[in-house]
Symmetry: C2
Subunit: 337 residues, 2 copies
């Protein structure tokens, strides 16, 4: 996503430095050789400057904005390494999506993770812009029409950067709900597994389950909105690009949906995950599912009964469900009048 984002950044006039972690040097090599990015098959935007993993200090030196776009598992380590560079910037933007378990076992959203970890380095994180929405990296990197959300606790900050970065094909809605955006981003991967299960049930039986998929979609949005509100964000975030928009595209294609459809077709969750691993397809919704139910346990126990779909996916992934179809139907359909 970092490489993909270079495209609208360059188009909107930013001077862009692209740094890759110790896992990414070969990707940066490919970009420097003028080859398409090996993951998206799209060339990087022209005019960017690249930095290898060992050149983090150079990449950060004098940066106005630092964009954190690594996989969520890499956020703690990269934050540690970059903390002082981040502290010197005017703002940090965040496209990484996930949860973080703090040393006391508490589940936190990534902005809190970054602030906590940076504080451990005596570094203060500048205003943070959470970036989310229905953005497939290959399309964004190719300059295809894309809508996204820049959300910040400080609405003025969100508006400022949205205004500076919007182009005709990369349109940015400014918002002031960091929590909601950061919740929707990983949770939509969990719910996309449920949408995939509906698809898989249709494939397995030869009878489409479109009504079930649509009911699942609506229930997912209902639960997202409840969680946003309960954890200090806004329901409206779930009803807009970062919620309905992102769930639409994630449930249409993508690895989480594909993984779910394998389960719907009758594969065990374990076997389906092994197959995805074998194909080098990371299924982000799987760890997110466990962490999300833990988050609910810690901070949203009062609404646990209103989140049947979230818990249904978790139970299925844990292998606790014999009849996946009945479990999904019970969780996705409104409770009996």
């Amino acid at each position: 996503m970092g490489t993909a984002l270079c495209r609208p950044l360059v188009d909107s006039g930013w001077n862009v430095r692209l740094w890759g972690t110790w896992l990414d040097d070969h990707l940066v090599d490919a970009i420097d050789a003028g080859q398409p990015h090996p993951h998206t098959n799209v060339p990087a935007a022209k005019g960017i400057t690249t930095f290898r993993s060992a050149q983090l200090e150079d990449a950060l030196d004098g940066a106005n904005v630092v964009v954190m776009a690594v996989a969520s598992v890499g956020v703690p380590k990269v934050t540690e390494l970059a903390a002082h560079g981040i502290a010197r910037a005017d703002a940090i933007w965040l496209t990484s999506k996930g949860f973080w378990t703090d040393p006391d076992g508490r589940i936190k959203l990534l902005p809190d993770a970054i602030r906590t970890i940076a504080a451990g380095q005596d570094a203060k994180v500048p205003p943070l812009v959470a970036i989310a929405g229905p953005v497939k990296a290959n399309e964004c990197g190719a300059g295809m029409p894309t809508a996204t959300v820049f959300s910040s606790s400080d609405f003025e900050v969100a508006k400022k950067y949205a205004g500076m970065t919007s182009t005709d094909s990369y349109a940015i809605a400014a918002a002031n709900d960091e929590v909601g955006v950061e919740l929707c981003a990983p949770l939509k991967n969990v719910y996309a597994i449920a949408l995939g299960i509906s698809d898989g049930l249709g494939e397995a039986t030869g009878t489409p389950h479109h009504n079930l998929k649509a009911a699942t979609f609506a229930q997912a949005i209902k639960e997202l909105a409840l969680l946003c509100k309960h954890l200090g964000g806004h329901s409206e975030t779930a009803y807009a690009l970062a919620g309905v928009g992102d769930l639409e595209v994630t449930g249409l294609s993508g690895r989480n949906k594909i993984y779910g459809s394998r389960i719907g077709r009758g594969e065990s969750p374990e076997h389906a995950l092994q197959e995805m691993d074998r194909l080098e397809q990371t299924v982000e919704g799987v760890p997110a599912s466990g962490l999300a139910t833990k988050l609910v346990e810690q901070r949203a126990q009062e609404i646990v009964d209103q989140l049947p779909l979230l818990h249904c996916v978790a139970r299925i992934l844990e292998g606790d469900v014999g009849d996946v179809r009945s479990a999904l139907v019970a969780a996705a359909l409104p409770a009996k009048g």
Copy 2:
């Protein structure tokens, strides 16, 4: 949809009479002969009693509830014929979806149409339950898992019938927003055309436009919510089964989406419609588009600038748009900065 609905009605213990209009006698013949319904290819529920078009009075005699499920174009005539039978019932349920132009040229929602037309026959319409949501008739008729909304201005009425009619596979959410449900039902067909255009652009160019489709989806929900609120309904209706749920299933498949994808692939709206007609595929979103823009002109002029997608589809269908892709991108993506 009338025949399909017999399935959950019978399953929940209702004694069901199925009447067909003068266009439907052959369908009723097929049902009586034990054949599947010619349109859905699904057999009617066992235990219903059928009535031919000439037997309307018999069908209505002593009915506790009358369900109006004819195509919207037939609602005025059937209301006229059935007005006194409807008036004698405890309630009328409505699954027809569309708009009605009254004799003064004002666009009205179907419940108002029914009340106005019945009043012209000196008949008073009993409490009305508007039924909507993501319900494909073939799946509902086959007893597949389905979620729907029973919405009534009188919430107690909605709850009562939802409770009496829910089954394990036909789950009903009760709501108290007649206006919102009646707006979402025909409008989602208009917005599904826009979703289809995104798909068609992808097919024409060989490059998926998934980000655009997701942005279009989110913009559609935003406009639905605005319209619901402005016209006396609730935004929440757009965020639930009758909005996001129904738009999901309609944008996934269905005639309106298929029609839109033809336009996206480069067919003119006129030619695409001729082809759909030739295949006997009614595209309900086409008349709904014109009527919806007229409704906005009459009753929502204040928010016209916030409905770019609705108007974009209308202009495209009128043949006023040369570059469909640019027009859709401009309408679906958030306004710049």
